[in-house]
Amino acid sequence: MSGRALLRNRVVCGALGVATLLLLAEAAGRAGLFGQDTLPLTSTIVARTVELAGDEEFLTDVAATMTAWSLGLLLTVAVTVPLGLLLGSLPKVEATVRPLIEFLRPIPSVALIPLAILLFPDRLDLKIAVIFYASCWPILINTMYGLRDVDPVAKETLRSFGFGPLAVLWRVSLPSTAPFIATGVRLAGGIALILAVSAELLAGGSDGIGAYVIEASSSPDGLEFIIAATVWAGILGVVTNSLFIGAERRLFRWHTARAGVAA
């Protein structure tokens, strides 16, 4: 492969980026830049991270977290996208419920977890509930903002052919907003992962990466394991994100083609 071809390969480039960061962190660690040698060396963490990949107990935990993640995100998308479309296309309704939305949005889901436990004794339900609560906002907001961006001429075209508001919504507003909704879903995906782990961590008594961290925190040398588990949370984030990106690229070719992507 020539240098140019290498530059065009996202995987190679991404790996190079990660490797650079790791090397820098290792060097900084060895040089003692991270204060009183309190932080495990990058190489130690990498070793732990690799070790975890073969740890059956941990893999079960990952599976538990990802189950909650996918169910939670699915529910969020299924409920929020239609809701966002509704609110975005009915300004009066939106104005009515906006105070409520704006009031609920900043209430930290982390603080709600102890209360949510009382309502959702089952851990999976609990995780799905807090995921929903936290990750519906990016989808909702992006859907509503995206709807405002729809070309009015496109909407008028369909209206003039006698299509009703619903058809316009379905055939023009939704497809033309879709790329932006997808960004919202991608954001929500990250948040959902965070909430799944946080719920496991704070509510305890569960399976998942968060539960693994609780166990690791029982030991003075648990820190390495905690960081390694955190790294895995990040890796899962990268993997899920690239799945989303792949899907978006396939679905929204028209979007890329019409835009002047990078000068």
């Binding site: 980026g17 009031f103 961006d149 820190l223 984030g237 992507v261």
Partner: protein
């Protein structure tokens, strides 16, 4: 960016329509009161109890302090300072890097995995990394906030900067706009609607992260108080903090909304169908 003077907002927060729009909140309050009274669960106190507790906690001070109690004066200002500093920092970082990544495909290829890696790390789990790197207190809290809220701005800015109408980009190139002009005059304005969506999301997130950052290793703040109420098994106090967060979020969003309407008035008018 200039905003057209004649495209004034249709209804400002002070217009009478604003008050009438608050009825859903009243409705919810009444429902809440009824349901909690019927359920009679100590963890879910009725709003009336919460209000009394809130008064007791925060509004028992002297008139000279606007009746704010010491607890309020000790906890609210530092929280707000953290919130705004964190949000503004995150906004700047998000927009700057978003524009960079949005316009440079090669750079984006290198950094993408790192960005999404960072995005997936739960901010509470950052702690073990942050404690040795910086001192507990404001620097760590700011880092937590910035780290937690930068992503919506970053991702939306990338999106907005990457997908600028081809015709606009080509026009700018043909007329020999300098890099700076292209960025400042074309890409940024055309991305603003999306950037604003990101900023709006991150404003509420900043409030949340402010709380998260105050849960551990802090000595004051709304999150600190929330944690204290939680530890002391004081549900009305806990709910009081939640209500304050909600109110704060509501007010902040209102202010943000007003600014946004001004900045984006071109957008609204240009995309209006009659």
């Amino acid at each position: 960016m200039k905003s057209p003077a004649h495209a004034a907002p249709r209804s400002t927060p002070s217009s009478p329509g604003f008050l009438t729009r608050l009825w859903p909140i009243l409705l919810v309050l009444v429902l809440w009161e009824v349901v909690t009274r019927v359920a009679a669960n100590g963890f879910f106190p009725p709003p009336s109890t919460i209000v009394v507790r809130m008064r007791e906690m925060w509004l028992t001070g002297p008139a000279a302090h606007l009746w704010l109690s010491d607890a309020a004066l000790d906890n609210f200002p530092p929280s707000l300072a953290r919130l705004f500093t964190g949000w503004i920092l995150a906004g700047i970082v998000g927009v700057v890097f978003g524009l960079l990544l949005g316009r440079s495909v090669v750079l984006a290829r290198f950094v993408d995995p790192l960005v999404h890696f960072g995005r997936a790390i739960p901010p509470p789990m950052l702690l073990p990394l942050l404690i040795p790197l910086m001192s507990i207190g404001t620097p760590m809290q700011l880092t937590t906030i910035v780290f937690g809220v930068v992503w919506p701005v970053l991702l939306n800015t990338v999106e907005g900067a990457r997908y600028v109408d081809r015709q606009h980009v080509e026009t700018a190139r043909v007329f020999g706009f300098t890099r700076g002009q292209r960025l400042w005059r074309v890409i940024l304005p055309s991305a603003t609607p999306k950037i604003f969506a990101g900023l709006r999301l991150s404003l509420s997130l900043a409030l949340i992260l402010m709380v998260v950052s105050e849960l551990v290793g802090s000595t004051n703040g709304i999150g600190f108080q929330l944690r204290e109420s939680e530890r002391a098994f004081d549900p009305p106090g806990l709910w009081g903090s939640l209500v304050v967060l909600g109110l704060l979020g509501y007010v902040l969003n209102l202010a943000f909304f007003t600014v946004e309407r001004r900045v984006l008035s071109w957008h609204r008018a240009a995309k209006q169908t009659t």
